[in-house]
């Protein structure tokens, strides 16, 4: 093995890891933010619609209660999906880290 600049390798790896973490985190954050905004928006619209439908006699109080329960169940499904997406991002980060180290070391050794 010839002269290897370990400080340089560390610096390259560090910068690569930071880029990878930011990219992975941003992808997840963007998805989660989009989901959050959409949920709030649809919740607002749905509640207004259901209140009006109840007032007009288009739905019964029992149906309204069921709809509210379904809304809560859907939010739980969204939360489960987000938990799954977070795990997937960790897996992607781990895969990316393996590639980064392999590529960085292959380039200098």
């Amino acid at each position: 093995m010839g002269n290897i600049d370990f400080q340089q390798i560390f610096a390259t790896l560090k910068s690569g890891v930071i880029d990878l973490a930011q990219k992975t985190g941003k992808e997840y954050a963007d998805q989660a933010t989009e989901d959050g905004k959409r949920i709030l928006e649809t919740m607002k619209e749905d509640l207004a619609l259901w209140a009006q439908q109840l007032k007009n006699g288009q739905i019964t109080p029992e149906e309204l209660e069921f709809l509210l329960g379904t809304k809560e169940a859907v939010m739980k499904m969204v939360a489960l999906k987000q938990a799954g997406l977070a795990q997937i991002q960790i897996d992607k980060f781990k895969d990316g880290l393996t590639s980064l180290i392999t590529q960085t070391l292959s380039a200098v050794i």
């Binding site: 370990f6 029992e62 069921f66 709809l67 169940a73 859907v74 897996d91 781990k94 393996t98 180290i101």
Partner: protein, 144 residues
């Protein structure tokens, strides 16, 4: 020399950590096809909700069976507890998704009440969104 040892040790540890098996199951085309297919059938049954439950019990049960099969498949895939939990929620007759909807339909009819079309439309939209969460999680899984 010390720096070299530290670098190799750090890299090996990192590779070991990164090489550890994924924490989540990988993408499964069959699972994805299954959720999108069951969604269509389930929403078609929900559309019948303004009519008598007794008249459509067979269709409602058939979808329930399809969903039970999907749940069993997901439950037995390794590292897949989240998707399995999502299917369990869809099936739960004490919940407020498909299983709960069918129970509500049956109970309302048994009490001499029929479901309103506006309710069916609202419920269809929400349960469709619940199915979409399962499909979106599956489609985001790592493809290997």
């Amino acid at each position: 020399m010390r720096e070299r040892f530290t670098l190799i040790r750090t890299c090996l540890l990192t590779l070991l950590l990164a090489g550890c098996a994924s924490s989540m199951s990988v993408f499964d085309q069959y699972a994805y096809t299954q959720v999108t297919s069951v969604k269509v059938d389930a929403l078609n049954v929900i559309d019948l909700g303004t009519e008598d439950y007794a008249k459509h019990k067979q269709e409602a049960d058939a979808v329930q069976t399809q969903m039970q099969k999907a749940y069993e498949y997901e439950k037995n895939r390794p590292k897949n507890p989240i998707t399995a939990e999502m299917w369990r929620n869809m099936l739960d007759t004490n919940g407020k998704l498909y299983g709960g909807f069918v129970r509500f339909w049956r109970k309302q009819n048994a009490a001499g009440k029929s479901l309103n079309s506006a309710f069916i439309e609202d419920e269809r939209k929400q349960i469709g969104e619940a199915f979409d969460q399962i499909a979106q999680l599956e489609s985001n899984k790592i493809k290997k």
